[in-house]
Amino acid sequence: MEPANPGTFEALLKRGELIESASEMTPDYLRELKHTLIVSGDTELISAPAYYLAAKKAPSVNAFMTGIAIIQDELAHAHIAFHILEELGESQEALIFKRDPKAFRYPYAFDVPLETWTELVVANAMYDQAGFCLLGDIHEQCSYGPWKRGLVKVMAEENFHLRNGRNWSKRISQAGGAAKEELQRAVDWMFPLTVEWFGLPDNLKQHSAQLDYRLKGLTNDQLRQQWLSTVVPFMESIGIQVPAHKENGSYALDYPFPCTFDAGEKRWDFKDPCTWDDVLARWRARGPRNAEMVALFQESFSKFQVRT
């Protein structure tokens, strides 16, 4: 493939036009697009085994069907990203079935087991809200046409996941007693994990090729604020406490960011601040379910492969 003329490419990007094929891209743009697609595909893919563990605890047949439908949606969304990657010259088989578990690029939050129906619906209300903010931004801003168009239905489906999360969170909170306490405990450990989902704060991130290439439109902190502005009022409206408050028009956290997390205990230590290097080291080491979840789909792939 002939690399695109950088001059033509820059002009196209500057005019706000969409890039439609690999032949129009510079090698740098292609690399950055692939990286962004891998993060998105990995996130959608791993949410399936992450949600399935908890979906099995559904409190009714109807609720189980909703949980399973959400998992099916997530797999379909992963399929969109991996399909585009294949068109860009990557092998889906290698990416999904042959990569080392630690090489997957999804948010650390999914490595911490979701073990109850309550934790699943809090994930729908908070993790899917994070996905909604990130994908909504890509859907609006993305300079790569095939991905932008592929996200139209994804947004509608993520909205359905959010509704499941919010309806059930409200219902569990209204039930009160031990059910509400369980909900509060889930929010206590999952809220800070979703806050860090958006990555390094802008003042530590010197440069973003994703923004330069219009693969996304908002910075990490802008996306984090967008998430806080929906999740904080919602949780407060159903009587659940969250460690953040509104201050001078934006949301401020009520704990040191970042601080230490014990994944085994699902507990944050707000009295023990840490550095972003510590967080990046925790992310790189991955969490409790990483190897097991990746093995779930990789084992069967090799078992049933026809050898010629």
């Binding site: 069907m65 139209v152 509608a156 359905f160 509704r163």
Partner: protein
């Protein structure tokens, strides 16, 4: 509709209008245009409606039922909502209104 006209409109007409405000949780089309409401009886503050879903495994069935209940109970004059879920005749795209068909086509579904 002005408030005066709203009060004057028959309860049944208002119930149909209220149902047309409720969107399917998964698709940008309202429940009336989607053809999910098979029948409606209104009397003495009680609304009885026959409802179907597009599939027996509809993952949004709980949401649809609770959306209907919540919206209709907010309508002046409605004190009770009785929903009967029915499967005969099975739903098909033939039940879409022209408006529903257009909404789904605009969204990218071939119906």
């Amino acid at each position: 509709m002005t408030p005066e006209a709203g009060v004057a409109a028959s309860l049944e007409a208002r119930v149909w209008a209220a149902l047309a405000e409720i969107n399917d949780p998964e698709m940008p089309v309202n429940l009336v245009d989607l053809g999910l409401i098979y029948g409606l009886e209104v009397g003495e503050g009680t609304v009885r409606l026959r409802l179907t879903f597009t599939a027996m495994g509809c993952p949004a069935s709980d949401m649809i039922v609770s959306d209907i209940r919540e919206r209709l109970l907010a309508e002046p004059g409605v004190g009770e909502v009785v929903i009967e879920v029915v499967w005969d005749p099975p739903w098909s795209s033939a039940r879409l209104t022209p408006g529903g068909r257009e909404a789904l086509q605009d969204w990218g579904l071939s119906v």
